[in-house]
Amino acid sequence: MIEFHSVTKRFPDGTLAVDDFSLVLPSHKITVFVGTSGSGKTTLLRMINRMVDPTSGSIEIDGADIGTLEPVKLRRGIGYVMQNSGLLPHRRVIDNVATVPMLRGMPKKKARDEALHLLDTVGLDRSLANRYPSQLSGGQQQRVGVARGLAVNPNILLMDEPFGAVDPIVRAELQQELLRLQQELGKTVVFVTHDIDEAFLLGDQVVILRTGGKVAQVGSPAEILANPIDEFVATFVGADRGKRSLHLENHGDGDIVVDETGRLAGVLVGERSSAGSESKAGPRGPGASAQGGDSR
């Protein structure tokens, strides 16, 4: 469990990135910080592994104030996945994955063995192990980044717009992979994105931020969609544009779901689920869910 207590961050140039932010991030769940640039979402994420220290307030991980922990040691216990993978270009894939365990004193051979297993875990072929990052596609690099983040078997995984730089098809693939991994591993994931659809797809808890690191609304995707707290949130999640107000049209063989402008959003399969019982396991494209229609 990660707890923010009245955390404020003002950068030396005077920018107020985060203003009096308090939140509990439950264990074994995915919490997504979503907002436009300048909303302080990345700053919030980077405060968890002390890449940024708060100006005031405190952050606790499982009850321990991280301000009292040594940053390097703290970071070695937290998985970190960033945009553009952040892999070391001069090290082979396998050595990139084995980097942190070796920093923690694991013998090289063992670290490499475990790195191979991690490549399996993230769905990469072992034949890529001896390639350099520059020889991989963007999506493959991102998978290596996830493998590296998992290498020390951390309880916490920080993901800073990890899928922001890959094309939409690969992104969708990686998102599903992350959900699959999360079902297996049950990490406490903190995920930063500016993409509201990604936030709703991945998040158990979604935190919508407005400029200056102020919380606009916190809740499950369903709660936020059903009850946008104000106009800002409604605009942000797209509820005001009709993008999410879906309805059914019958087309002979089956029902299709269309949005307010009549554009096709998906098809309705199976029975209509009752509100709130939405489950992680099912296909959950935010646009394809009948949930949005119910809320209108």
Binding site: V72, L74, M82, N84, G86, H90, P133, S134, G138
Partner: protein, 251 residues
């Protein structure tokens, strides 16, 4: 007799190739002097350059100071130091170390600065200590530019080391000063040619070294680069991320 025949005559005269004042001895002296000077300059400049490159602080000061160092006339400094410490090799060591510091310093910090900040940031975020970032990330990735700085320093030192003979009976410069004194232009030109040849050889060695120290992951844009060990050269920090295989077909 013109200069060319005089020079050739001087170069092939067996008498010039033996003894304490012979070409091999002076060549070795010159080379050793150059190497020692480079080591001295590197010991001073590399740690400072790494510190500047790693922290991003003090760059302005370094640029200004190296600029001032570059502006110092080496012959003047040499004379000044010689007046102070006396005749011998100490004065040339000091003067040429001062000459060699700016390019090495610049090579050291630009090498670090040229690295994508995201790589450094990621290294820190996964838990590398500052020392580990320097040794395991910045040093290997910045090495090509550092070698470039050493290369440029070497060229300057090997040429300017002729001045050592101004205050000591030492190195290839001796032929220049002696030839000038006794109006033996063949000897002067011969000595110069030897210096030039030495410079070219060292230049070649460094060019090779610079190529070899580029990390393979940085040069390897294509799988074939590893397998056939081709020495395709690419700028050290060029982004070589290529998607798909169209690149292979184009080659």
């Amino acid at each position: 007799m013109n200069f060319v025949t005089e020079t050739v005559a001087w170069l092939i005269d067996p008498a010039n190739w033996v003894g304490a004042g012979g070409i091999p001895t002076r060549l070795v002296q010159h080379l050793l002097f150059t190497l020692v000077t480079l080591v001295l300059a590197a010991v001073i400049a590399v740690p400072i350059g790494f510190l500047i490159g790693h922290t991003g602080r003090g760059r302005g000061l370094a640029v200004a100071t190296s600029g001032a160092f570059r502006a110092i006339p080496t012959l003047g400094l040499l004379t000044l130091v010689a007046l102070w410490v006396g005749i011998g090799l100490n004065a040339p060591y000091v003067a040429l170390t001062v000459l060699a510091i700016p390019p090495i310093l610049a090579g050291a910090y630009t090498g670090f600065e040229a690295i994508d900040r995201k790589i450094i940031d990621a290294a820190r975020a996964v838990g590398m200590s500052e020392a580990q970032i320097v040794l395991k990330v910045e040093l290997p990735l910045g090495l090509p530019l550092l070698i470039g700085g050493l290369r440029s320093a070497t060229l300057q030192v090997v040429a300017t080391a002729t001045l050592a003979a101004y205050v000591a009976d030492f190195g290839l410069g001796r032929y220049l000063f002696e030839g000038l004194r006794i109006r033996d232009y063949g000897e002067m030109l011969g000595g110069s040619i030897l210096v030039i040849l030495l410079a070219i050889v060292l230049e070649g060695v460094f060019a090779l070294a610079q190529k070899l120290v580029v990390p393979r992951g940085v040069t390897a844009g294509l799988p074939t680069d590893i397998r056939d060990g081709s020495s395709r050269s690419r700028p050290a920090m060029e982004s070589t991320i290529k998607e798909g295989t169209s690149h292979v077909r184009n080659e």
